[in-house]
Amino acid sequence: MGDIIDIMSANLISPIILSFVLGVAAALARSSLSVPEAIAKGLSIYLLFAIGFKGGAAVSSHGADSTLVLALIAGMVLSFLIPIVAYGLLRSMTRLPPVDAAAVAGHYGSISIVTFVSATAILTARGLQSEGYMVAVAAAMEAPAILTALWLAARSGSGGRMDSELWREVLLNGSIVLLLGAFVIGLVTGEQGLKDIESFVVNPFKGVLCLFLLDMGLVAGRGLRQARGLLGAGAVAFAILMPLVGAALTLPVALLLGLSTGGVALFMTLAASASYIAVPAAMRVALPEANPSIYLTLSLGITFPFNLSLGIPLYLAAATWAHGV
């Protein structure tokens, strides 16, 4: 217990989290502070490239153990199933209509790569290793939840449309391709490659993450300001409960797979995180009737900050505890 508080407080006063807080505060105070769209996209390209590359380089130097494939499968299964749990909770905790509930559920089955990146930074700060292939697991967990969401929506009569074109868009969306591509580059070029570009992908990483989270804070804060009054207490409670549920479902799976403490914490973080890039774009095309303000506010305005501040330290503490048992 002292351990959790220790991890949490170390986390809460890190430049990373405080940059996010600064962004939220600036947005709520209606400051003109803003990060140009192109810069935000540039920062995220850097982060995806760096995290993917380092994951690949780690696998290349430690070797891929046999759990890689099992972890990928487990990740996809969780991404398929978590939306069902989320949908059930939403329908009982809120008055959201089925189509909105289905859309929201899809977001929670999928993942947020920035939450994942932040978790790796927290692990690194505490000197914890993790399996490099977790970035591949992250990629694998992005899409399945969308299918489940559309199936849930179709069941309730509002026909979600998933054509081959949308499939391609989802599976080949820029983030996944960059993350996996950089993973493969790291895998192929290995230690030599890492030495080549270490002072680019390793040293400034945390600083770049600060600026990116500053922007995320600005976006989340603006979203919260606009969505004031749109969300009931039930929905807000869901956005805090659901990551805990997702993480709890994943803990035993991750332990069964035999992941390291860091790996368990990352897997829990993935399950706990909610998408705000790939899934919203897919939902606008496939389920245009669902209100985007609802799912964006829940995932970006509530669940993302919750995971960043309290969630990740909690999952890490749980992983440490479970490994000690």
């Binding site: 976006v219 774009a281 245009p288």
Partner: protein
């Protein structure tokens, strides 16, 4: 200078539908259009601005499509089929063009 009557159709549509609208316009037999970026706006779903967007899921784009008068219906039909369940606005203006053989 010799000009010819044409119609200027301007469509504001949410960004995730941008490529689909372009495909639909071309499928309707119209090859000429231009896409302009949009910074922000306001509508029945509230105000938004490009800088408040974490992804292209939230942005919009503006299509400008100049067509001969007799093609405007094909274009509107194509646009409307896509737009009906989506966020977006369509306006049609009379205009004159140079080099009519292009449209």
């Amino acid at each position: 200078m010799q000009t010819h009557r044409a119609k200027r159709v301007e469509i504001i549509i949410e960004a995730p539908m941008e490529r689909r609208l372009a495909d639909a316009i071309i499928a309707a037999g119209i090859t000429g259009f231009t896409i302009l970026p949009v910074l922000g706006g306001s509508g029945r779903s509230g105000r938004w601005s490009r800088e408040g967007q974490v992804s292209s899921a939230g942005g919009m784009a503006a299509f400008v499509c100049i067509v001969r008068p007799e093609r405007v219906d094909a274009l509107l039909d194509a646009a409307f089929a896509l737009l009906k369940s989506h966020i977006g606005v369509v306006s049609v203006t009379d205009c004159e063009v140079l080099r009519a053989e292009r449209f």
